[in-house]
């Protein structure tokens, strides 16, 4: 089976710091991959490189057999790669539903249409369905500015998933989300994404979330992949525990 994503010798440094250091990894379709690592291990930089936010110093990124190295975010997104952010990137002056409608119009390639309305019955219905697993349906008409921090985080993920990507990268999806909601949201989200056959890469600090939802874990340390494998194996590795958690 061909891979969805491959990186070959991916390297990126900031000044004298090697943030991502010669990372080569291959990810198969439908995999749910958790990335763990201490702060500064290169997790977010890896996501930024793959989605075109940063240009690598060296190395290549292959998505579905196509070289997307240094392609800008807009092109990468157009090919079916979506992401959420550590700090939610949403449209703060609009309502929750409007945010999602914009994403839907973008996915349909209708963003630049100036005459037809954004809000159609079909799009609204689809938008409300999309908000459902995030528990945001009842807040659909509210301005985003009224949402709590956890809600913003979930909306950010909802926007990424509204694009119906083939590869979805989530940067700390559950940080800021209350622990009461965390697992409920992840349960529904993961089952929806799995049903759609979406390949998921998520950066996560919460080891319980990683253990529960990742089929495979990449442990980053100082820009390199320290361990790669099943969560049970990787998270039990004393070297990983020392690097990621700070104790063995």
């Amino acid at each position: 089976m061909a891979t969805v994503l491959e990186t070959h010798g991916l390297t990126k440094s900031f000044g004298g710091v090697l943030a991502v250091d010669d990372v080569s990894v291959a990810i198969a379709p439908g995999e749910i991959v958790g990335i763990v690592g201490a702060n500064g291990a290169g997790k977010t930089t890896f996501v930024n490189l793959v989605t075109g936010y940063l240009k690598p110093d060296r190395g290549r990124i292959i998505y579905l057999g196509r070289d997307i190295t240094a392609h800008p975010p807009r092109e990468v997104t157009g090919l079916g790669v979506a992401r959420s952010f550590q700090i939610p990137q949403i449209y703060a002056s609009l309502t929750v539903l409007e945010n999602v409608l914009i994403a839907l119009a973008a996915r349909e390639g209708q963003s630049l249409r100036a005459w037809a309305p954004l809000s159609t019955r079909v799009r609204e219905a689809e938008g409300l369905i999309l908000l459902e697993p995030f528990g945001l349906t009842e807040h659909a008409a509210r301005p985003v500015s009224e949402l709590p921090q956890g809600g913003l985080k979930l909306l950010d993920i909802a926007l990424a998933s509204a694009l119906m990507p083939r590869l979805l990268l989530l940067d700390e999806p559950t940080s800021g989300v209350s622990s009461a909601e965390k697992f409920g949201v992840m349960d529904t989200l993961v089952s929806i994404l799995q049903a759609r056959g979406v390949t998921v890469i998520f950066v996560e600090h919460d080891m319980d979330v990683v253990t529960n939802y990742a089929g495979r874990v990449l442990a980053f340390s100082e820009g390199k992949i320290l361990a790669d494998g099943a969560p049970g194996v990787v998270l039990a590795d004393p070297a990983v525990r020392k690097a990621v958690l700070g104790w063995a």
């Binding site: 800008p72 997104t77 949403i90 449209y91 609009l94 963003s111 630049l112 100036a114 037809a116 309305p117």
Partner: protein, 322 residues
């Protein structure tokens, strides 16, 4: 949504009937206000995308001078054709300049527009054998659909011509604001990163808005030129552009009627301030602006919105008790 649908009809009725009951000079001021409101609409449109232009006077001038020159050098007289031509020229100018300007934001966007408009101003001033320099160009009375208006009814005819030409502009902007592109423009103001991560080009969104606003600015210049009957390089001067930004803030850029309300308020405020405070009229405008910013940051239109909200609540409580 009933109020939302009734409002344009009520407005159309009021504006349609206004000159029949108002004195002639008021009709003239109203004509100017309606014509310029299209420019204010253009400014408000960009404001929605978080962009302020201090140079839109150049599109005002582009429209007006296209008409002036087509009359002077081309011998054209038909208002509808001239309007079409002028809007096309302004849109083309915006399409060309937009290639450069749409890449900039914030102060750079504002200043770049201003700088180019000052170049346009200088060109209009210096090419006097074509543009008439400071004397400008006289705009003769046009024919409207082949009919030359009577001298006695000219004022009235120009008012209705302006009104009819303005309606499609306001309707188009209404459609734009509720369209994916209109929302994309607001999205750009809120978060450019997310827009690009939705696969939408920020540059294209801004470019499209810029061309539309340039075309609207051109229309405003044309209509103003027709009703004043004379155009000068000052149309492209930066204080003219600044005035439009002033009026956009005055009326409230977040709504469709805001620019119209602001434009009317401004024309009357200006002429009264000029009449009763000939030496301090600019101060009067300044104080008004301060008051608006301090007490009504959403602009004059928020008065109506506040009343409408109160009215709805009042109706609701009426229903409950009744």
């Amino acid at each position: 949504m009933r109020g939302g649908k009734a409002l344009p009809l009520v407005a159309a009725a009021v504006f349609g009937a206004a000159p029949l009951v108002l004195p002639g000079w008021v009709t003239f001021l109203l004509t100017l206000a309606v014509a310029k409101s299209v420019m204010v609409l253009a400014i408000a449109l960009l404001l929605r995308g978080g962009l302020v232009s201090f140079g839109h006077g150049m599109f005002f001038a582009a429209g007006a001078y296209t008409v002036g020159m087509a009359m002077k050098w081309g011998g054209m007289r038909e208002a509808v054709v001239l309007t079409f031509l002028g809007v096309l020229a302004a849109a083309a100018a915006a399409a060309l300049l937009g290639l450069l300007i749409a890449r900039y934001r914030g102060i750079f966007f504002a200043m770049l527009n201003m700088a180019i408009s000052m170049v346009v101003y200088a060109v209009l001033l210096k090419l006097y054998w074509v543009t008439g320099g400071t004397d400008g160009i006289g705009i003769r009375t046009p024919t409207i659909l082949g009919v030359m208006p009577e001298r006695e009814s000219l004022r009235l005819v120009m008012y209705y011509f302006t009104l009819v030409m303005t309606l499609p502009a306001f309707y188009a902007v209404h459609r734009f604001w509720t369209s994916p592109l209109g929302f994309a423009l607001r999205a750009v103001r809120d978060n450019e990163v997310r827009v690009e991560y939705m696969g939408t080009s920020v540059a294209r969104v801004i470019y499209a808005a810029y061309v539309l606003s340039g075309a609207l600015g051109g229309l405003a210049g044309i209509l103003t030129g027709f009703s004043v009957g004379h155009i000068v390089p000052d149309l492209a001067y930066w204080t003219t552009s600044g005035e439009f930004v002033f009026v956009a803030v005055l009326g409230g850029p977040a709504s469709i009627p805001g620019p119209l309300v602001g434009s009317i308020a401004f024309e009357f405020l200006k002429s009264y301030a000029y009449k009763y405070a000939a030496f301090t009229w600019q101060m009067t405008l300044g104080v008004t602006m301060l008051a608006i910013i301090l007490f009504m940051p959403g602009g004059l239109w928020t008065i109506y919105e506040g009343l409408a909200r109160q009215g709805r609540q009042w109706r609701l409580s009426w229903k409950r008790t009744g």
